[in-house]
């Protein structure tokens, strides 16, 4: 064997392996590492369809390689006129019927799963005993309302594991799409109607993924579409219930630190028109113009994308446009001095239900 050929094989083998290993992506984000009932079904369908398609590709490739090597025009054949074949009924029937059979094999589970995934009856019963979350998508932020508990949070969705969680989905400005890749396919949040679906978060696999799944907006919605991320904290039912209780009973704590107090004043002057700081917010959704900040200090990210620390929070408050172009917060409040930034940051970091 020639040396270059051996080297080439080695290189391609190694790179193929690297691709395979990296090809599955991150456990908190990848559809190839499903972490729940819905994603599992979809993953199974992916595997089935990929298997069928690999068979098809293999058959085509074998015939293809044979044909292009065997029937190339060789020296001395310049004047050869091949037999002009009209066609073959047998062959044509074969390559019509076999694909039809393959497609039926694929169509049956497709239809079955499509109906299974659309089963939202439990959430529409009068006396429901399932967790329901109203998701409202807004230009570059997400609101999560738990109508049965009367609490609202945003950016970080909190859900119980090992049970179906049901969602009402809608958008308040332009169309977005709600997608937690590792846990299940997406559904659009329309401006016209409310969509419904469910997801299941598997406890063991949530643990492996660090109990924090990545969520994405999957429909082009403006300049910061790429940055409209959210996070999902998947907790065991008991911990989820505790969280709900804490949210329900959260009371504003009187600030003692003078800096925090100063921050609260600034907040009440410039921010409270849009941002609520209590999880129980009875105002209609049209009045809820910005993310609820009641559990802000417990969040995993600043603005949904940056590491959660004071430095990033200051950067965001100073110039949100630089971080999320086209956001609706820029220019709605007066410029903040360094002292005011410091105070406001300190205050926001005290907003916790834990």
């Amino acid at each position: 064997m020639k040396k270059w050929l051996r080297n080439w094989r080695l290189v391609s083998l190694v790179s193929a392996m690297a691709l395979l290993l990296a090809g599955c992506g991150k456990p908190f984000l990848s559809t190839l590492q499903p972490a729940g009932e819905v994603a599992d079904m979809q993953y199974k369908l992916m595997l089935l369809s990929t298997a069928i398609m690999v068979i098809v590709i293999a058959v085509v490739t074998i015939i293809f390689l044979y044909v292009v090597t065997r029937f190339r025009r060789r020296k001395g054949e310049e004047n050869k006129i091949p037999k002009q074949v009209e066609g073959s009924h047998t062959l044509e029937i074969i390559w019509t019927v076999i694909p039809i059979i393959l497609l039926i094999i694929l169509a049956v589970p497709t239809v079955l799963y499509t109906f299974k995934l659309a089963d939202v009856k439990p959430m529409n019963k009068k006396e429901r005993d399932v967790v329901v979350v109203n998701v409202r998508a807004n230009l570059y932020w997400w609101e999560f309302e738990y109508p049965d508990y009367g609490i609202i949070t945003s950016q970080d969705l909190v859900v119980p594991t090992n049970e179906r969680v049901y969602f009402n989905l809608k958008a308040s400005d332009v169309k977005h799409s709600f997608w937690i890749p590792a846990v299940g396919g997406k559904m659009d949040t329309n401006t016209d109607n409310t969509n419904q679906f469910f997801l299941t978060f598997d406890d063991k696999r949530a643990e492996e993924a660090g109990r924090l799944f990545y969520g994405k907006c999957a429909e082009l919605c403006g300049p910061s579409h790429a940055l409209m991320d959210f996070k999902v904290k998947a907790l065991p039912r008991a911990e989820f219930d505790q969280w709900v209780e804490k949210m329900k009973n959260a009371k504003p704590v009187a600030a003692t630190d003078p800096v925090v107090k100063r921050g609260e004043e600034i907040f009440n002057k410039s921010c409270i028109g849009c941002h609520a700081v209590t999880p129980v917010d009875g105002r209609p959704e049209q009045a809820r113009l910005a993310p609820n900040l009641a559990d802000f200090a417990d969040r995993s990210r600043i603005a949904g994308i940056l590491e959660h620390n004071e430095e990033n929070l200051k950067a965001w408050l100073k110039d949100p446009e630089k971080i999320k172009p086209g956001n609706k917060m820029t220019g709605t409040y007066p410029a903040l001095s360094d002292e005011e930034l410091e105070a406001l940051t300190k205050y926001l970091m005290t907003l916790s239900v834990e």
Binding site: G23, L29, F64, V68, K80, K83, F115, T191, D192, C221
Partner: protein, 622 residues
């Protein structure tokens, strides 16, 4: 009046092309304009790939990225792929059916100029406040919220160029039905002509829904309508339906001609007739028909419910069957043949595995439940680029190399052609294969950047490297065109030596009147039949006589210019007082030109028998 063999100045040449109604010259116009927009769309693609090469890149801003992304898609589909397909149709179809021109030469020119002015209008948005930024699909809620005039340029520009396309489609339908030479029955038509026929029918039915959607949106944005405003009883989902009722057939409008081009090339360079011709025709018609039944598979995640999703899923899968028939027929055309690997043929050969990958991922997308994962992710981006680049662009490049001698009388350089092919082919797979995995790993499409730590870095870098290969291939192609134009040698009627269809029986380029005598078609692959019987030319179906030709006219240009001016005026009618008057003036120009067209009695002219004989003598000696 005959322009045969007359040396002309630059001004006269430009005037000739502005007024021409000759399908061969219109083909060249489509080729140049479509090629220009292809380069523009390619440049936009390069900007996209550079921006996405590394995470958190700030090569361009988020807002500008959305404009580039929108214009890349819109330009490539409407202003590059469509006109390039029309270039091939115009260059080849009339000759393939043994006709002297299309049925309506005047309309043919009008179609081109409408497309051209629509495209120019759309691209003016770059200089007049910003390009459209809601994606090529321009979903209603986002496009109505867009603050610049970009979407207005999109809406008006596409209406104008859409009229052009519709006119072109109708023209080819009538041409193929009425203008076939004696003996050219439907089942003796070359496959590319069949593809053009079915495509034209698709255009006829697919473009009106788009026009309706665009008019609704124009009303909403410019004239106070509320078709898409849910607060006032409108509905944004309607836009999605209208757009995809057009948008899905549009895929087949592009890919059926591609299939047609490859069918010609496979047969020619395998030196064999197309295997299973009748089933190929059947499959083409079936794909065209099913193409209208599947639009909602673009909307599986909209919330249409399981019944609609299941029906559209199964219908979509069904399209794989006729497509599969075609793939196998091509393979068996080569089976037992004598394959010569010319540049067009290697594109055709490379198309098979590339397109099969795009096809099977299409079936994967059709599985509705799993599509909830694929939808709007990079998996979909990979899928449709495999179909459109691996299918349509490969076909256009193959067709350009294949028919270049017929259009310009010179062969493109084969060596450079193969360099282009390899660069483009490797770049294409490098760019798009990895994107399947990016999508499955959770990367949404239409993102202007991505954050580090999500596992997207390597894949995006590979993709960007691939894009540079494709760009390099395109540069070599341009060089090839220039070198060929300057230094290329003149060729005879049948430069590939294995031509089978009528276009290879006439000189390269074809004379103004195509055929001195209308040929008699005695079977499929009419020219091949004559060659096999040892004849040099075609069997004529009529005696040599004077040939009636249409007069050139500047009116198509003026009609289109009028609409361009009108769109410009109405676009600004809310901002400036001159808007409405300019719009009205534009409409008057158009209507005035149409009025003149109606009252001027234009009988055309004749090329006399003697002139034809002289031209034929020269052509035969070339």
């Amino acid at each position: 009046m005959s322009t045969l063999a007359r040396k002309k100045g630059v001004g006269a040449v430009i005037w000739d092309y502005l007024t021409t109604v000759d399908h061969k010259k219109i083909a060249i116009l489509y080729l140049i304009a479509g090629g220009f927009f292809f380069l523009l769309g390619g440049l936009e693609a390069m900007i996209i790939r550079i921006q996405l090469a590394v995470p958190n890149n700030d090569f361009i801003s988020a807002g500008f990225y959305n404009e580039v992304l929108t214009m890349h898609g819109t330009t490539m589909i409407f202003l590059a792929a469509m006109p390039l397909v029309f270039a091939m149709m115009n260059a080849v179809v009339p000759i393939q059916i043994g006709a002297r021109d299309v049925a309506f030469p005047f309309l043919n020119a009008l179609g081109f100029w409408l497309f051209f002015f629509g495209g120019v209008f759309l691209n003016l948005s770059w200089f007049l406040g910003g390009a459209p930024d809601a994606g090529w699909t321009s979903y209603a809620s986002l496009s109505l919220a867009s603050p610049t005039h970009g979407i207005d340029f999109y809406v008006l520009g596409l209406q104008i160029s859409g009229f052009g396309t519709l006119i072109g489609g109708i023209n080819f339908l009538v041409t193929i039905i009425n203008m076939r030479a004696p003996g050219m029955t439907y089942m003796r038509m070359p496959m590319f002509t069949w593809a053009t026929f079915v495509t034209s029918a698709l255009i006829l039915f697919a473009f009106p829904p788009l026009t309706v959607g665009l008019i609704f949106m124009m009303m909403d944005r410019l004239f106070g309508g509320n078709f898409f405003d849910p607060a006032l009883g409108g509905n944004t989902i309607i836009w999605e339906h209208l757009f995809w009722i057009f948008g899905h057939p549009e895929v087949y409008i592009l890919v059926l001609p591609a299939f047609g081009i490859f069918s010609e090339i496979f047969a020619t360079f395998s030196r064999k007739r197309l295997f299973g011709y009748s089933s190929m025709v059947f499959a083409t018609v079936l794909i065209g028909f099913l193409g209208f039944m599947v639009w909602a598979h673009h909307m599986f995640t909209v919330g249409m419910g399981p019944i609609a999703n299941a029906i559209f899923a199964v219908a979509t899968m069904a399209i794989a069957v006729p497509t599969g028939i075609k793939i196998f027929n091509w393979l068996f055309t080569m089976w037992g043949g004598s394959i010569r690997f010319t540049t067009p043929m290697i594109y055709a050969v490379a198309f098979i595995p590339s397109f099969v990958i795009g096809g099977v991922t299409g079936v994967m997308n059709a599985t509705a439940a799993a599509d909830y994962q694929y939808h709007d992710s990079y998996f979909v981006v990979a899928h449709f680029h495999y179909v459109i680049v691996g299918g349509v662009v490969f076909a256009l490049l193959a067709g350009a190399h294949y028919w270049w001698p017929k259009m310009f009388g010179k062969m493109l350089d084969e060596k450079l052609g193969k360099v282009t092919f390899w660069l483009f082919f490797i770049g294409f797979h490098l760019t798009f294969f990895i994107q399947h995995f990016l999508g499955l790993m959770g990367m949404p499409r239409r993102v202007f950047t991505f954050l580090p730590g999500q596992g997207f870095e390597t894949g995006n870098m590979i993709s960007t490297v691939g894009a540079f290969f494709m760009a390099a291939g395109t540069v070599v192609l341009l060089a090839n065109v220039v070198i060929t134009t300057v230094k290329g040698k003149r060729v005879g009627n049948d430069p590939w030596e294995d031509g089978r269809t009528l276009e290879w029986a006439v000189s390269s380029p074809a004379p103004e009147y195509n055929f001195a005598q209308t040929p008699l078609v005695r079977g499929l692959d009419a020219y091949w039949i004559e060659k096999m019987e040892g004849k040099k030319g075609l069997t004529p179906a009529e005696p040599l006589g004077d040939i009636h030709m249409p007069n050139p006219s500047i009116l198509p240009f003026v009609i289109s210019l009028g609409l361009f001016v009108a769109a410009f005026g109405f676009l600004f009618h809310q901002d400036y007082a001159w808007g409405t008057p300019v719009g009205v003036v534009g409409l008057l120009i158009t209507l005035g030109a149409m009025f003149f067209r109606s009252i001027i009695d234009d009988h055309g002219f004749h090329i006399h028998k003697e002139e034809v004989m002289e031209a034929e003598k020269k052509g035969a000696g070339a």
